[in-house]
C-alpha cells in the first residue's frame, strides 16, 4: 500500500518524524544526585565516634563519682 497524497504529505510526515526525534532528544533532563558513602566509611566513622565517646564517658561505666581520667587525644 503506497502513501497517497504526493510529495507534500510525505515531506510533512518526514518532517514530523524528524521533529519528534529532535524533541525527544532535547527534553529536559533532571539528574538527581544522591551521594551515599560506602558502607566501610560509615562504619569507620561510627567506630571512631564510639571509641571517642567511650573515652569521654568512661566514668559512667564505673558508676564511681569523680572518676576523671585525662582524655587522651
Amino acid at each position: 500500500m503506497g502513501l497517497e497524497g504526493g510529495p507534500s504529505v510525505r515531506a510533512l510526515l518526514a518532517g514530523s518524524v524528524v521533529l519528534l526525534a529532535l524533541g525527544a532528544g532535547c527534553g529536559p533532563t533532571v539528574t538527581v544526585e544522591h551521594k551515599v558513602e560506602p558502607i566501610h566509611i560509615t562504619m569507620d566513622i561510627n567506630i571512631r565516634i564510639d571509641r571517642e565517646l567511650d573515652k569521654y564517658f568512661d566514668f559512667e561505666d564505673d558508676g564511681a563519682a569523680g572518676t576523671t581520667g585525662a582524655v587522651a587525644n
Binding site: D44, I49, Y56, F57, T68, N73
Partner: protein
C-alpha cells in the same frame, strides 16, 4: 630574606596547630570532669523519674514533672558539657577522616547508647516526642 619570612610564618602555623590539639584535649578533660561530678546527682534525678535521657544524647526534665531551679540548672549544665564534648569529638573525627561529622551525629550515637544502657525505670524521650519509661 623573603624566604625567611615564609619559613617563620610556616613555623608559627605549625606551632599553632600543635597547640590546638592538646588545648582541645584539655578542654575535653574539663568537661568530662564536670560531668563526672554531676553524675551522682543526675543518676538520682533519673532514678526518681524527674529527669530522663533523650534520643539526641542530652537530658531533659520529664514531661509533666515540675522541676525546681536546681534541677533545671543541673540539666542545663549536663547538656552544656555533653554538647561541648560532642563538638570536640565531631571536630576531631572530621579532621581525621575529612568527612563532615556533626556534633548532632555524635549526640545521636550517644543517645542510642544511653537508651541501651539505661536501667529499667528510666524515662526516655524518643524522636517522635514521646516519653516512655524503660521496662
Amino acid at each position: 630574606m623573603r624566604t625567611n619570612r615564609y619559613l617563620c610564618a610556616l613555623g608559627a602555623a605549625a606551632v599553632l596547630l600543635l597547640l590546638a590539639g592538646p588545648a582541645s584535649a584539655l578542654e575535653g578533660a574539663e568537661y568530662k570532669q564536670r560531668l563526672a561530678e554531676l553524675e551522682p546527682r543526675l543518676d538520682g534525678l533519673k532514678s526518681e523519674g524527674t529527669v530522663g535521657e533523650t534520643w539526641r544524647g542530652l537530658v531533659a526534665v520529664v514531661e509533666g514533672v515540675s522541676a525546681d531551679s536546681e534541677v533545671q540548672s543541673i540539666v542545663s549544665e549536663v547538656n552544656r558539657n555533653r554538647e561541648a564534648i560532642y563538638r570536640i569529638i565531631a571536630e576531631k573525627i572530621s579532621a581525621e577522616t575529612g568527612k563532615n561529622v556533626s556534633a548532632d551525629m555524635v549526640g545521636r550515637k550517644k543517645g542510642e547508647d544511653n537508651f541501651a544502657d539505661a536501667p529499667a525505670g528510666t524515662w526516655l524521650l524518643f524522636r517522635d516526642g514521646q516519653w516512655k519509661k524503660k521496662t
